[in-house]
Amino acid sequence: MSDIRPDGTTDILSAPVDAETMNRLHRRLVHQAEQERLLDVAYTVVDSPLGRLLLAATPRGLVRVAYASEEHDQVLDTLAQKLSPRILRAPQRLDVVARELEEYFAKHRQVFDVPLDLSLSHGFRQLVQQHLPEIGYGQTRSYRQVAELVGNPNAVRAVGTACATNPLPVVIPCHRVLRADGSLGGYIGGAAAKATLLNLEAA
């Protein structure tokens, strides 16, 4: 009678918590975290014609858009290290950008007007990324033209790097930057995704 092996008693004490209860507590945690300004990074994952997109935002604005090929768990780990580990799945903060992306993919929207937080990039890269939205919907520029646009015509290669490290693909339109000969050049979501976006905008 004195053994302490688990039995019916401890089974009941350790009974699993049902998913609905955990969801309700999670929503309450997100709400309290927002109210007490503890939610440094909110994220969600949405479906798109280019696969599942991770969307992440700080209180200042949209900070990251990531393709599935970038491995969303790794992207979140990186955000935890570079920004803050106070990260929760909190779709509400991403509602507006998620809706704008849906409209964009449905060809009902040409410009994104959500606040952006470019704190993941610095210096020249950030400067380039700030200017990329000046390339209008359905247009393209060469890397050299973008270098000229930001006032540094010799920095063609650095413009390429700035595009390749764009933390906000789709929303910041690095897909509109091509090689001088018109070939696609690289893209963080892969060449097929870049072609899809260009075709969407051209149609």
Binding site: I12, L25, P85
Partner: protein, 166 residues
Amino acid sequence: MGMKPPFEKVVADHGGTVLRVCRVLLGSHDADDAWSETFVSALRAYPELPETANVEAWLVTIAHRKAIDVLRAATRGPLPTEQLSEAPTGLGVPGAGDPDLWQFVRRLPDRQRQAVAYHYVAGLPYAEIAEIIGGTVDAARRAAADGIKNLRNNYPGANPRGDHHE
């Protein structure tokens, strides 16, 4: 800053265990409040948590303090409740609504109830439990053993699901 995972992963990995601990400490309804306060506190302190820390023991330590706060507040007077306690769904919570066992749990001396929660539900080693509830490691082991023996003597544990109604 090194490889600290996003807090979402902490909730996913340990949220269920911490809620079960809170239920043993406080019963079902107050457990939700203690869980919420535990995770808000944990989220606030998370950036300062050493990477080598045992996250579950850290969370249980916070839950332990929050549960004491809830019990203290309860002895000062009835707590205002937003609404009637949520009806237990019974879905995936076998026996969670079993009134007999929970009444016995509630009647355990505090240290026994805590030791049972931290050892049998959270799976913490007695050294960690002694840190949380104070006293020696042996005393923590004895409290857990006495607690589980008390429950077993008073509750037909071999029959986990009776025909009880709410």
